[in-house]
Symmetry: C2
Subunit: 168 residues, 2 copies
């Protein structure tokens, strides 16, 4: 398919989606983070072909998102656990889940509930400002090029991140 390599582009979204944006990776991470960590369990649960699953897991291990870990000694068996980098993908999954819940509601309500152990309630995730805690939306934020943006020779630039363009 000769996918344009996006990992080296000056955009964190591109870097992130380069790993994350395929049909299976998000679902594998959801499973691993909720306790489905073994090869055969993942294969059955997702209905993914074993070949593709092996390829995805290998890439996630290479990228340090997952680690193989022995879960029993005899016979030696290994499963996949999320690293800190992997656990840190949880907000992305929560955001996707929220969006799916909101815009593709099933007939019977959301397919899963998230319980916040700290406060004890069923909840959902909101994207909050790290400074003031209020929700972050398209309309109350602006994006500017940061220090790592559009600099350096050979760094391809994606996205002007400009304010709305006026019609001529």
């Amino acid at each position: 398919m000769t996918r344009t390599p996006l990992g080296d582009v000056a955009c964190s979204i591109a870097r992130a989606t380069d790993l994350f944006a395929d049909a299976w990776t998000a679902l594998i991470m959801r499973d691993v983070l909720t306790g489905v960590t073994r090869f055969d369990d993942l294969a059955h649960d997702l209905g993914i072909s074993r070949k593709v699953l092996a390829a995805r897991l290998a890439r996630l291990v290479r990228e340090d998102v997952l680690v193989r870990e022995q879960y029993q000694e005899r016979p030696p068996r290994e499963d996949y656990r999320a690293t800190e980098k992997g656990k840190d993908l949880y907000p992305v999954l929560l955001a996707l889940m929220n969006w799916g819940d909101r815009w593709y509601p099933g007939t019977a309500g959301p397919p899963a509930r998230v319980q916040h152990l700290t406060c004890g309630h069923d909840t959902s995730a909101v994207s909050a400002c790290a400074r003031c805690g209020d929700p972050l939306t398209v309309d109350n934020t602006t994006q500017f090029p940061g220090p790592g943006g559009r600099t350096g020779p050979g760094t391809r630039v994606l996205g002007p991140l400009l304010a709305s363009r006026q019609p001529k």
Copy 2:
């Protein structure tokens, strides 16, 4: 490639990634939400082939994530704007951006800054509990099947969403 259709599965993440999980959609949405709304601008900015761009835009319009809108009368020209459903993808982009910033930092720092107009500060997004406002992480949450989970005949079930499985 015969991608397994995931849109009809009992999992909001699957429903969301079914639309969102390809190499370009996230980047197109980032561009549109930050003001790059015209076909040629998108094509040049992303370095995407025009054919693929047209296909993606058509799908996003079909899914009611974008709308074509006339931005000038003579000659009639149209661009793409985010619907509310499209704007609601912003938290997903912020989460991806955060993760990319954290785990694939460039040499010079993050490529983009997000300014929260409400409080005036440069900021980043945290995934906060809608109830208590504290951060939501893998370790302080549990997932349970919700009302729409694993029900109904013909509804394929993805993911047991079970608590951690013990070794035998």
